[in-house]
C-alpha cells in the first residue's frame, strides 16, 4: 500500500513538473522578444550574447526536460537539468527580490487567471518561492530509485 502511494506521488510530481515546464516553455517560445526583455530587466552582469543565447535555448531545454520526464527516457538526466534550471531561477529571482526590482519574472504567462492574480504570480517574490518548491520537488524525484524489473 505504501509503495503504491509513493509511486502515485512520484507520478503526480512528474506530471506536475512537466505541465509547469511545458507551460513556461510555450509562454516563452511564443514571444521570445518579451522573454529577452524580461531577462534583461534582471540586470545580471552577463554579456548580451549570453542573454540572447539563453533566450533562444532555455525554453527548448524546459520543453525537452518536460517531455523526457514524462516519457521516462533518460529521465535522470532530464531531472538533473530541471534541478539546475530551478536552481538558476532561485538565484535570479532571489537577487531581483533582494534588490527590490519591480519586474515581471518572465517565467510563464498567467494572464488568463485575471489581472491581479497574474501580477502576483508573475512577481519575482512569488517566482522565487515557487522555484524553491519546484527545486525541492525535483530533488525528491532525483533521490527516488527507479523501479527495477523483477527477475524472479
Amino acid at each position: 500500500m505504501k509503495v503504491a502511494l509513493e509511486i502515485d506521488l512520484k507520478s503526480i510530481l512528474r506530471w506536475l513538473l512537466a505541465v509547469i515546464l511545458v507551460w513556461a516553455a510555450v509562454s516563452k517560445i511564443a514571444n521570445l522578444n518579451d522573454f529577452y526583455a524580461d531577462i534583461s530587466a534582471y540586470r545580471l552582469s552577463l554579456p548580451d550574447s549570453v542573454l540572447r543565447l539563453t533566450t533562444m535555448v532555455l525554453p527548448w531545454l524546459e520543453l525537452l526536460c518536460a517531455v523526457l520526464i514524462v516519457a521516462g527516457t533518460v529521465r535522470r538526466a532530464a531531472l538533473i537539468w530541471t534541478a539546475v534550471l530551478f536552481a538558476v531561477f532561485v538565484i535570479a529571482t532571489g537577487q531581483a527580490w533582494a534588490r527590490g526590482l519591480e519586474i515581471s519574472c518572465g517565467c510563464m504567462k498567467l494572464d488568463f487567471l485575471g489581472e491581479s492574480a497574474g501580477k502576483i504570480l508573475e512577481s519575482v517574490w512569488f517566482a522565487f518561492l515557487r522555484a524553491i518548491v519546484l527545486l525541492f520537488a525535483t530533488i525528491f524525484l532525483l533521490r527516488q530509485r527507479e523501479p527495477v524489473a523483477s527477475t524472479s
Partner: protein, 220 residues
C-alpha cells in the same frame, strides 16, 4: 566475490559518464532546436542594426489597415515627406492604398535615450507611451507612461487619438532594443492617428530599468 557481480552493476564512473553524455545530448538538442527555431520563426529574436529599416510584417499590417479603414486613413493630411522629424528610409510608395495589399513603408523615427526622455518627461513636453502588452505595463512601467499596446486595433488607436491634439510629441517604448513594438506603434500613430511628432526610445524598458534602480512603477 561473485564473478558476475561487476557485470550486473556498472561502476559509478561508468554510470556518471553515461549520465553526463545524456545531459550533454539534451543540451545540444535544445541549442540546435532553439537556434533553428529562432532563425525560422517570425517570432524569433532578431539583432537589428540601427540603420536597418523596419518593415511591418504582413499579418500585422493587414490587422492595422483593414480595408474598411483604408479610406479613412487615406484622408490623413500630413504627407511624411514634408515632416522634418520623420524620415522615410526609402523614396515613397504611397502611404495607403485602397487595395487589400499590405503597406510596407519603412520608416525611421528620431531615437531618444532615456536621459533625454527623462528630461522631456519632467518638462511635460512629451507623452510617453508604453507599446508593450497591457499585462507587462501593469506589472511595471516607466513612471508617467501611458499604455497603448502596439497590438491595438485601428478603432482603438483612433479613439486614443481623440484625447491628444495633433501636435503632441509622443515617445514610444517597449521591452528592449530587440523589441519591434515601439516602432510598430510609432508607425500606427503616424499612419492611423495622423500624428507627425513621434519619436522612439529604442532601449525601451530594459534601458530604463538599468539606468534607474528600483524605478519601475506598478499600475494601480
Amino acid at each position: 566475490m561473485h564473478p558476475h557481480l561487476p557485470d550486473q552493476k556498472p561502476p559509478f564512473a561508468a554510470k556518471a559518464t553515461t549520465l553526463l553524455w545524456q545531459m550533454f545530448g539534451i543540451l545540444a538538442a535544445s541549442i540546435l532546436i532553439g537556434l533553428a527555431y529562432n532563425n525560422a520563426s517570425p517570432l524569433g529574436l532578431r539583432s537589428e542594426s540601427p540603420s536597418e529599416p523596419f518593415k511591418i510584417e504582413s499579418p500585422r499590417t493587414e490587422r492595422l489597415n483593414p480595408s474598411p479603414t483604408n479610406v479613412a486613413v487615406a484622408s490623413i493630411p500630413p504627407p511624411l515627406a514634408t515632416n522634418s522629424r520623420i524620415i522615410a528610409a526609402t523614396p515613397t510608395p504611397p502611404l495607403v492604398t485602397n487595395t487589400a495589399q499590405p503597406v510596407a513603408t519603412p520608416m525611421k523615427f528620431p531615437e531618444l535615450k532615456w536621459p533625454e526622455v527623462k528630461a522631456l518627461l519632467s518638462a511635460k513636453k512629451i507623452v510617453l507611451v508604453d507599446a508593450r502588452l497591457k499585462a507587462n505595463y501593469d506589472i511595471s512601467h516607466i513612471p508617467g507612461a501611458i499604455s497603448l499596446p502596439a497590438t491595438s486595433t485601428a478603432p482603438e488607436l483612433q479613439a486614443f487619438a481623440t484625447a491628444y491634439p495633433r501636435d503632441t510629441h509622443f515617445v514610444t517604448y517597449c521591452g528592449s532594443d530587440s523589441c519591434h513594438m515601439s516602432r510598430a506603434l510609432a508607425e500606427s500613430l503616424v499612419k492611423i492617428c495622423g500624428y507627425t511628432n513621434v519619436s522612439e526610445m529604442p532601449g525601451g524598458f530594459a534601458e530604463f530599468i538599468i539606468a534607474e534602480p528600483n524605478g519601475g512603477t506598478r499600475a494601480q
